[in-house]
Amino acid sequence: MCLAVPSRIIEINDTIARVDVDGVVRETSLMLLDDPKIGEYVIVHAGFAINKVDEKAALQTLQDMRNILAAENAGDNGLINQQ
């Protein structure tokens, strides 16, 4: 039921937006969203934008995970070197 792919707002007419998902354009209601702006990414569910995607948080999560794994690898190497 959920479309997990973020859609980009390309046009706003009152409470209706046109959103783009990888080249496919659909209409989406903005009734459940505060302060939508053109260019923002939103999550769409059953024809309604239900939230914006926080770009900073998206990038931060990826970076955090890379850091955790990098620390892990460094640890691995250290262990191997000691042996």
Binding site: M1, A4, M31, L32, G47, F48, D54, M65
Partner: protein
Amino acid sequence: MSLKYIEEYRDASLARGLVKKIRLVSKKQIRLMEVCGTHTTSIFRHGIRSVLPDNITLLSGPGCPVCVTAQKDIDAYVQFSRIKDTIVTTFGDLIKVPGSGSTLGKEKALGADVRIVYSIFDAVNIAKENRDKEVVFCGVGFETTIPTIAAGVLMAQSQNLTNFSVHTSNKLTPPALAALMEADGIEIDGFLLPGHVSVITGTDAYRGTFEKYDIPSVISGFEPIDILEAVLYLVQQNESGTPELVNAYKRAVSDQGNIKAKKIMNQVFEVCSTCWRGLGEIPQSGMKLKKKYHGFDAALKFDMDLPDVPEPKGCACGQILMGLKTPEQCGLYKKKCTPMTPIGPCMVSTEGSCAAFYKYS
């Protein structure tokens, strides 16, 4: 244009790193439940079960809306479709779900006006274009869908569409988690909490259940990296014996959730107890129209009596939804019950465990 936040969250080297880390950390036998049907499909589609170590078991919980819809509600949809000059609008998945005698799909084949809509928005428009007919929207869904149904009711009200009504089977997630934790024989060591339900509810909505049952709980997105990250956190919490409530889907979920959506939802609906297929009646786990909106209640409008009906004999959907059985342990699986001839709802919806097992194993 690329698919924003999709490619990055499918990065193969990051995924391999996470799998390696999970294998390194995970020692205990644990059973993790994904509560959302979209997680179930994503886990199968990306082959996540096959890369996890054998000591981690993934269970599919009661998060496929179609699968938990009570049979009497399906019977009601069928009855609406038999009323003269009535158009029944519904989400696609519901059309094949067997009620006690028929399905919406069969009624359509017999000439009933049943239309699949992508959104309640479309249903409201159908009502606008067909003022001489009654339009009933049959909707099932969790916190992600309930605000959209509320918005649809408000739209119909503002346009004075007296020929529009809804029959909803709204379900709330946190009370269902609590009911699961209270059920006999349940063994769950952690919840992979639903990403888009949480977009609406916010992390705070789970705090009560988390504190009461002290169970590892991680909100997750739907891409492979999201799911592996959440599994890693659940494994770490189990190994260290320190349960936490973690939001691992920060790009979409906040502590408070979508306040505007919740406001619209609470304007139109109020909390009530409701019947979940397989799980039975769970207090405070549903939402019904407030009195002010009873004009939009299809069951009241058509004076419909909805008796309880027994669930199909031999169908183990209920136990599967609670993580007590796998589809293979149901005697009907792949024999009498297939996606072409589904007996229970878990085989009908693409998000149901039985259908996912059938397709991917």
